[in-house]
């Protein structure tokens, strides 16, 4: 039976905020756990600081859903002590679909005057 990727993607939406943050953090390459935490913190100017529990709880689920994958030892280069993660192709599609969903939501909010239009 052929997989219906589209349906699988949409079954995961909307994503929990932590998932989306992790997907974004991994968007430009692999990172280890603390690297993801740092990236999220930097991108949000320190407003969102993930705890290890939230991070690894999410990673566990995202691995199970096939959104991310763990790099095999050695592939990540210098720091062999740590486990590195990167986006899967499926994860990329899900992130894109979620971004699409949010942007369409944003457009609708603008349309109804809830959010000022960009000048």
């Amino acid at each position: 039976m052929p997989r219906d990727i589209g349906a699988e993607v949409h079954a995961l939406l909307p994503l929990p905020p932590a998932f989306l943050h992790i997907l974004i953090a991994l968007g430009d390459g692999e990172r280890h756990g603390y690297g993801i935490m740092q990236n999220v913190s930097e991108r949000t100017a320190g407003r969102i600081r993930m705890s290890p529990g939230t991070l690894y709880g999410s990673i566990k689920r995202m691995l199970a859903d096939g959104l991310i994958e763990e790099l095999t030892a050695g592939a990540a280069g210098a720091d062999e002590r740590r486990r590195f993660y990167r986006l899967t192709r499926f994860g990329r599609r899900v992130a894109a679909a979620e971004a699409e969903r949010l942007s369409s939501l944003l457009a609708q909010a603008r349309g109804s005057g809830l959010v000022p239009r960009k000048s």
Binding site: H32, P52, G53
Partner: protein, 861 residues
Amino acid sequence: MPLLSERLYRVLLRCYPGEFRDEYEREMLLAFRDRLAADRRAGRGAIARLWWQLVVDAIVRAPGEHLDVLRQDVRYALRSLLRARVFAFTAIATLAIGVGANTAIFSLLHAVVLRPLPFDPEGRVVRIWAINSTLDVDGFSVSLPDYVSWKERSKTLDLAAWLNGGATLRGTGDPVRVPSLSTTAGLFPLLGVHAARGRLFTPADETVNGRPVALITEGLWRAQFGGNPQIVGSTVTIGERPHEIIGVVPEGSVPQDAEVFVPLRIDVAREDRSDHTAQVIGRVRPGATLDQARGELESIARQLALEFPDSNRNWGVTFSTAYEWMIPEGTRRALYVLLASVCCVLLIACANVASLMLARTAARRREIAVRVAIGAARRRIVRQVLTESLVLTAFGGVAGVLLAWWSVPVIRQWLPDTLPRVNESSVNAPVLLFSLGLCAVTGVIFATLPALSGSRADVVEWLKEGARGSSGAAARWRQTLAAAQIAIATVLLVGAGLLIQSLHRLQRVELGFNPANITTAMIGLTPERYKGPEASWAFYQRLLERLAAAPGVQAAALTNGAPFDEGNTGMPIEAVGPSRLNGKSLQADWRMVSPGYFKALQIPLLRGQGFTGTLARDERTMIVSATMAKRIWGDENVLGREITAGPAGNFTIVGVVGDVRNEDLALPPAPTMYISSAQYQWSTMTVIVRSIGAETQAPSLLRTAVREIDPQLALYNVRTTIDRLDRSAAQPRLNATLVGLFAAVAALLAALGIYGVLAYLVSLRQQEIGIRMALGAGRPAVVGLILSRGLWLTASGVGAGIVAALGVSRWLRSLMFEVSPTDPRTIGLAVALVVLVAVVASYAPARRATRVDPLLALRSQ
């Protein structure tokens, strides 16, 4: 410093499930270390915020992770049970029967025994009886003047008294006879009864010669008065007098068989202090204890004995709580015995399921070994076994509760109505709680062994052996379980045997009369219509003549109390002249009977003569039972001797009749004396008819005869004596039937256990059997090999079972009759039955062993 925070964080991480920690603990610690270092630079606020986050994580996230693991386990368990449908169905059905039977029996126990009385949750209501140790009288009615004295003098008790009786209601169609109570006004508030309509009695209603008033129950109001809303204030004729109905009381609010209540009006001046007629109930006042109340009443009784020595010498008081009174010890014990036996059935069921699971674990060793080898934690394997049992228990429990929910109303209908409160039984919240606890215990019991055996998985060995390894430990455990099942089944069979044996003896006890084809009915004459004993005796004589002449009637007689009609009359007597009593009193039962009484009941006249039925010749004469004659005068001739029966005066013995059990099958016949009903009658008497064939015609015959003589009279309590006997043996029959049923189920389950173990053994030892057969062992030898293993298991189980049964059966003693708890015949029979069942169960696997093909068995090596 970093060491301390890291250690702290490690402690917090313990909140997460093991699997999660195995996977991520190291990573989380690394991340924590980095984050802590960064936050240190940011200041104390950041560190505080970090710890806050970590604690919230542990509280909010960790349970979620646990749930996740559980969900996975349950899903896995469901999948693997779906693959093993036969196993799953067998296990669930076994558990459902065990849990269902337990839930059903517990719902009875809860309704009858465990619930406090609605009117007395604190156990402060007491029944008070008169007692006389010199007369050997216990739990006797109280004289009304004594009741009045107690009430006046007691400071610790609120007291109320009543007389049981019957009332004929007229004015609403055919006259109806209903049970009634003459009661003091205090009874209702004492029992916490509120009027459903109108009002209850007040002390003003108790005044002698007061206006005739009555209360009726809601049931009677509906049945007899069509639920007329204007009932209060209306008039009904009770006996011959019109009474005003002043109120309606809720059904069942007074724990007595009564539908009409009239005020008890006590004229102390005219009452006889030695006439024990009243029932007394009391509520201990706030601030006083039960013991204080008892002490006070005992001292009042001693005062009364000094003040009124003629009537009160040697009379004391005895208490029982309302609960003990309403739910007798025998009933309580019987229900506990039933629950214990049904628990045994559940235990055997648990052992069966455990055995099945052990076999399953053993068969899945390769799968388990592979999973351990590819990294599944052992605790995960153990938990999987536990989850599987949890799922089985959940299904079994739900099915069991449904089974109980469906069966309790059915069982209720089938139970004897002598069980108090049993109609209120249902599968309610406390019962469900019990079932939940039961399921939890059940799950733990049958899951422990398989889980332990799974946890000891020796991966390398198991992988080497493959699925068909020897798995000695599991097999040994299964054999132990089978032996334990045999032991429990033996205990149940011995118990059931003892109870069945008791019932059998009880039903074959020498009654002293022939109950077959006897119908009895009560009839009440009112003094207004039948003035004096002559008038009423004339009526009864006419009735008896008419009945005796009716087709199909062999004999008819009259008495104040037929055998087994749940009432008794007795009094102390003394012998005139020299006797074995040496001047002491003897408590004897007495009955007023018509001349045909002995013939109708087929009680043998041993010496002397019967009554004549004419006052002139029967006056002051008495017939006594053989036991009574012997107790007073030994083997001497008793005809012509005299006894004194209290205020009734002296009587001359004219005859001796055989002993009769009148009240209780389990009690020896009491000394009994008979006086002629030509001398005395009560306002309510019992008519006895012996039919020639079936007794089905008797009721209509009786009704017709009474109506023809006086259409104003009501006939009630029409029953066959066989019915009454059945009723008196109802509880022992229930015990024997249910325990017998449980024992049968237990034996069946134990047989399944033996069968399963041996069948498994045969499949494990195929190679060995094959070799033996190849080396020339014949079929009998192979059958013997397996049978002997089965018998060895049975023997060890039976041995343990007998020891346990000897310990337990003493506990049954009060439920047994004329059977010793160690009766060798019963124990022998139970053992024989167990062995028979075990042999039958062992034979099928033994036969299968003989069909092992030596070539195939050896080739599979």
